[in-house]
Amino acid sequence: MNAIDEDDALIAAALKGSAYAWEKLVRRYEGRIYNLGLRLTGNSSDAMDLMQEVFLGVYRNLHRFRGDAKFSSWIFRIAHNKAVDMNRRKRLMTVSSWGDDGDSVDVLDTVPGESQQEPERQLNALQGNELVMAMLARLPLSQRLIVELKIFQGLTFEEIAGLQDISENTAKTRFYSALRKLKVQLEEDNVLS
């Protein structure tokens, strides 16, 4: 039984009420979703929130899942949308405290990190996952999502374009801009020699 068939079998069993199948389905994907959350939100508490929202969304919509798409694509679509929602909520909270209506700002392009009091740490003081999270935190969400989907989830630009409802060309441009921006930051903070 290959991975996709196994997903389908687990979904069918979960829909019939098998708690075991549900748990197994969650276990198959929780690591990928949690790590995605860490990279997108930059901290474990938000990553947990995101992951729980994703699986709640999966649970609530499982009966709508059709076998013609891969479950993995479906769950990443949910994760993508939840990340955007979460960012929007954070933005609303911070925007209202600034007394700005914020309507002119693209939801995707507001960095939650920007409003926080914590000063950005110098990248060269960091390494490993901390460094990656700090790098990504400096990107607007739209770019962060593209980097996530392209580099960490290995999606094609075509798939990304479908997910973000943009053209394939825009997706390519956005990815390149994100990578360049990250490079400039690493240079400025002397991480790249």
Partner: protein, 235 residues
């Protein structure tokens, strides 16, 4: 020193599937232009930094199990005809688990197959494992189901169900040593098997309903398959 082609060229470079080789035109320019090459190297090492991500393990959480159990407390399709059967596959899995755990040997001779427990461990170990097993499932079992399960375990052992023994042998061949580590694997395999068996039985039952009990023989076969008491079935 700079090159006017850099932005367009590198954007094209990264627009390709990341694992594939760059197109000839791009490669040709990169071979000639040190500036573009240097810029590309920086972008690639930026990507390497990102790819250095180490997967972090998920903190403990409930996995939505409480919600799931609450909303599936008495699933309709488990009632009625199948309520009596639904733990049979678990019983079979349990019996097989015992066999795995206690160094059981299976001897096939002309008359059939016989199963004997190995010397290691002994009854105390078996009792402990049974206790653990019961604990693990006590949430899910009503008392009556538990009794049924025990009866079914006994029946399973008595009948030495050929199919299951064959399955067991296959599993035992695959995992020679029953270490704690692979027990979990084996166990999840059994659980999976149980789910599949259950689905197969349901499908079989549904077919029977559809054919309006036309074929009593199929019902007998089905009953045989799950070791159901065949005196209940008209001959």
């Amino acid at each position: 020193m700079s090159c006017p082609k850099t932005p367009h060229l590198l954007q094209e470079y990264f627009a390709e599937d990341l694992s594939s080789r760059p197109g000839q035109e791009i490669q040709k320019h990169l071979d000639q232009c040190a500036h573009c090459r240097a810029e590309l190297d920086l972008l690639l090492s930026t990507r390497d930094q990102l790819e250095g991500w180490q997967e972090q393990s998920v903190p403990h959480w409930d996995r939505g199990m409480e919600l799931f159990r609450r909303e599936h407390r008495s699933p309709a399709q488990e009632q009625g005809f199948f309520a009596r059967w639904q733990w049979f596959p678990t019983a079979a899995s349990f019996a097989m688990l015992c066999l795995m755990l206690f160094n059981t040997t299976i001897v096939a001779d002309g008359d059939g197959v016989s199963i004997s427990f190995g010397a290691a461990g002994g009854e105390a170990q078996i009792a402990r494992a049974m206790e653990q097993f019961s604990e693990q499932f006590s949430e899910q079992f009503s008392e009556q189901q538990q009794l049924e399960r025990e009866a079914l375990v006994a029946r399973f052992e008595a009948r030495q169900d050929n199919n299951n023994v064959q399955l067991l042998e296959a599993v035992m061949q695959q995992s020679q040593q029953a270490t704690a580590e692979n027990m979990e694997l084996v166990y999840s395999y059994f659980e999976q098997q149980r789910l599949q068996d259950l689905q197969a039985m349901r499908a079989g039952y549904q077919e029977l309903l559809d054919s309006d009990y036309q074929t009593i023989r199929s019902l007998q076969q089905l009953a045989q398959y799950v070791s159901y008491d065949d005196t209940l079935i008209p001959q």
